[in-house]
Subunit: 275 residues, 2 copies
Amino acid sequence: MIVLRTVAEVREFRLTCESVGFVPTMGALHAGHLKLMESAVEENVVGIGSIFVNPLQFGAGEDLGNYPRREAEDIALAEGVGMRAMFCPSVEEMLGRSSTRVTVSGVSDLFEGERRPGHFEGVATIVAQLFGIVRPTRAYFGLKDLQQCAVVRQMVADLCMDIDLQFIETIREESGLAMSSRNGYFSESDRAWAAHLNRICRVVAERLVEGRDDFNSVFGWGKNELSRHRFEVEYLDVVDFRTMRPVQSVDIYSRLVVAARFAGVRLIDNLAVIE
Amino acid sequence: MIVLRTVAEVREFRLTCESVGFVPTMGALHAGHLKLMESAVEENVVGIGSIFVNPLQFGAGEDLGNYPRREAEDIALAEGVGMRAMFCPSVEEMLGRSSTRVTVSGVSDLFEGERRPGHFEGVATIVAQLFGIVRPTRAYFGLKDLQQCAVVRQMVADLCMDIDLQFIETIREESGLAMSSRNGYFSESDRAWAAHLNRICRVVAERLVEGRDDFNSVFGWGKNELSRHRFEVEYLDVVDFRTMRPVQSVDIYSRLVVAARFAGVRLIDNLAVIE
């Protein structure tokens, strides 16, 4: 495993790679990340990952300071699935004198974008920069962060970046809870209970497909069911993945999206309405 | 000469080019553009230009509708200096569903950025997109648009675009008037008179270097001299090219910058204070 610390080091290494599958992460790797990395390794000559806890995408009062950091462990995990190099830059190396920002409107207006002002600007800016550094052939993102996928997709299309994006379905714990680096914030019993989020969402999706009740009634039922299970619901809706706008009928682009707080942790999840 | 209309056509052509010198323009080519193109042809295996009158960089009430368009003539001129291909996309091809914007703060805060809100966002966005499409080895910009050079330089550094930027000194008419596609808006006699702008600025630069008077006195004298010659001065200052901030002493990064209206045309110019 090659650990790269500077842009110059990545540039030099990149010259030796015919095709690159790139997996940008904020570290604290779990099975979801490793799935992305396995795909990157399988589909490209070289897999390169990055670990950068991006301050631009954390809002005031969010968990930037507490965000789990365990670089040595992460590098070992990435090596285990065949990644060739990991880019682990300092904040100074990435953002030292930076004053450029990339914003993607429309697709970032609602849901996470509405509740986390500046979040997707931070994501888009750093992803654009990482793409500039790594020049990947393909880049891999987890659908767990659905709106992030949609934002990156729109940015890549708009700025005509010649990168093949691969979005990989969410990996879940046995309970159904979506893998997330933030799941470590839970106690063991709360972590088990948090799985109700996905279970209830699957029922909501089934009811939407059945079509016996109108969408609003189904969402009302779902929100009520989540509240009964001690989730504070922020939103529960169905969107077209490409626009991240609510829809009133479902097709293959439809994803049920949810955000809720439970036991002091903010959870997001989403799933295809039509499997 | 190969005329490319779509992103897909550029991508395909690009595969055949070992190194590319890229000259983005808004058309209405003059000797300044041709100088950039000559450099691109000389320093790279292939020279590619673009002609795109970018609506994003024109403000309300600016001259988007009147901006000179003469594609066939421009293509012939580019061919004459050895350019291999010109990318001439439609507005729809470039901006059809685009909602991504690139902003560069700091370097764009003053001067043109202050007076033309949104201008540099429009420039940075389209230049980033053109760079994504063409993937140039080197890109050429004229120092006539000094702050544009500074904005592109900052963007390329911040987003770690692997592009070698070349800034080429302004080409002037025999009178000293900086070449500009907008000079065509003048009557013949006004165009001759407009050369006083550069003449007076050269005297201002000399006085700054002499150092007998403080900067403010010299700028006061220069503004007065310009007014006497019927220029409405918007600004006259000395900046560090890298930051586009005013400086109080001069070095090799110092440029005298000026904007003034004359005969209904807004002129900008700049020159190295130390030759």
